[in-house]
């Protein structure tokens, strides 16, 4: 399909990418393009210019600190996370990335693109919320670090403002994590999903596909009844679409939260 007319530029540094985004109103950062190029075909997005972040080594790579903290560059692909020895320090990351779409998409799609697009059906927004990731956003005036709760603002909206870039995602040490999803076919788009993580004995569950942003819950325990109670108390009003009614999604949220929490508890105890 022919895209609408668009301009293109490939910066040679992150600083130059920021300048280009600031100088060109209507420009958007192009990460892996596995969402953006498709929505451009459908004219659901029509940026005037694309600032291509591919090739910026500063935005790539996975670093494991001695204390277990993982720092993942925003332009690191799902395939790189799946293959990374460092990322195995937090096994859930590679496990979930290996469930996204297919080989071709995983080879180009990036962690930064996934969370910056904040499509409510994406895998990674609930996951980074559950594990307590922190996002580093760089702009002309310097960088700031925000929590997942502050990062996701609405459907397709995040704290990354005009002229800014997400540069890296920092994930604390941990292993007590879980993830569960009901998808359209194996590894397909999520109809509903849930991520869970136990840190210092306290459980965080983040639900995807049920609201504009991941819904963070803190059930009292990973016990099924406690998790169900927490999901019910959240008073979810999920959207209805061709794949699932609102009521069915609410039911799935409960079931998947219980599964994800049980997996997290099993791993935290092991």
């Amino acid at each position: 399909m022919l895209l609408r007319e668009v301009e293109y530029v490939k910066p040679s540094s992150v600083a130059e990418a920021i300048e280009l985004l600031v100088e060109n109103e209507g420009a958007r950062a192009l990460a892996g393009g596995q969402t953006l190029i498709n929505v451009m075909k459908a004219r659901a997005a029509s940026p005037d210019a694309l600032v291509d972040l591919n090739g910026l080594e500063e935005l790539k790579g996975i670093d494991l600190a001695p204390d277990g903290t993982l720092t993942i560059g925003a332009m690191t692909t799902y395939s790189e996370i799946v293959a990374s020895a460092e990322a195995k320090a937090r096994p859930i990351l590679g496990e979930v990335c290996a469930q996204i779409a297919d080989v071709q998409v995983r080879n180009r799609g990036t962690i930064g693109g996934n969370i910056c697009s904040n499509d409510p059906t994406n895998h990674l927004p609930p996951l980074v919320t559950a594990v307590g990731a922190r996002m580093t956003i760089l702009g002309r005036d310097g960088e700031r670090v925000v929590s997942a709760e502050e990062f996701f603002l609405g459907v397709y909206m995040t704290a990354v403002g005009p002229g800014e870039l997400l540069t890296r995602v920092t994930i604390p040490a941990g292993k007590g994590d879980g993830f569960a999803a009901v998808t359209l076919g194996v590894d397909g788009t999520c109809i509903a999903n849930a991520a869970a993580s136990i840190q210092d004995g306290s459980l965080r569950v983040a639900l995807g596909c049920v609201d504009a942003v991941p819904v963070l819950l803190r059930p009292e325990s990973a016990d099924a009844d406690a998790v169900r109670e927490a999901v019910r108390a959240a008073g979810l009003e999920p959207p209805s679409d061709v794949h699932a009614s609102s009521e069915y999604r609410r039911h799935l949220a409960e079931v998947l939260a219980v599964r994800a929490a049980a997996q997290a508890a099993e791993r935290a105890g092991g």
Partner: protein, 157 residues
């Protein structure tokens, strides 16, 4: 500072031949291959990134060429289905597709071959499960998956 432009001169090497072309920024890689270079082996099935018929290998990485801009391929080495045959003869994988009746209408075949090629390079001895996972991004609307998997299995070491 680099400047934004609506077109760019790119140099790409496709199946061993180097091409230099001026391409509009909005042109997808699949259209560049098919329309500009006349390499029509790579197909456009869905044009939405789902079917995998446009799969090609860019700098050693399997991608769907409908989800990449041609300008992004500047400097890249690209392999398409036209590059698989060796000295005009079908290669082992292609012969195996033929022998196992792994193509019916044939529309998905170029993408299937490129995905299987990428798999066998990374993992010369894939299990059936690994073959299925590797071909997940390629849809066959004749639903002839069984023989495709058999064809790949037959060339696995």
């Amino acid at each position: 500072m680099a400047t934004v432009a609506s077109s760019k001169s790119i140099t790409v090497t496709v199946n061993g031949t180097t091409y230099e072309r001026e391409v509009p920024a909005r042109k997808l890689l699949i259209h560049f291959l098919r329309d500009d270079l006349d390499l029509t082996g790579s197909h456009i099935g869905c044009d939405t990134g789902n079917c995998g018929a446009c799969s090609v290998i860019v700098d050693g990485t399997l991608v769907k060429s409908c989800m990449m801009l041609a300008v992004q391929a500047d400097g890249a080495t690209i392999e398409t289905v036209e590059g698989l045959a060796e000295d005009g003869e079908l290669n082992e994988l292609q012969r195996s597709f033929n022998e196992h009746h792994a193509l019916q209408c044939g529309y998905c075949t170029p993408g299937m071959l490129m995905s299987a090629t990428a798999l066998l390079r990374a993992n010369p001895s894939p299990s059936e499960q690994e073959i299925r996972k590797a071909l997940q991004g390629n849809i066959c609307r004749c639903t002839g998956y069984w023989n495709i998997i058999e064809a790949v299995k037959a060339v696995a070491k």
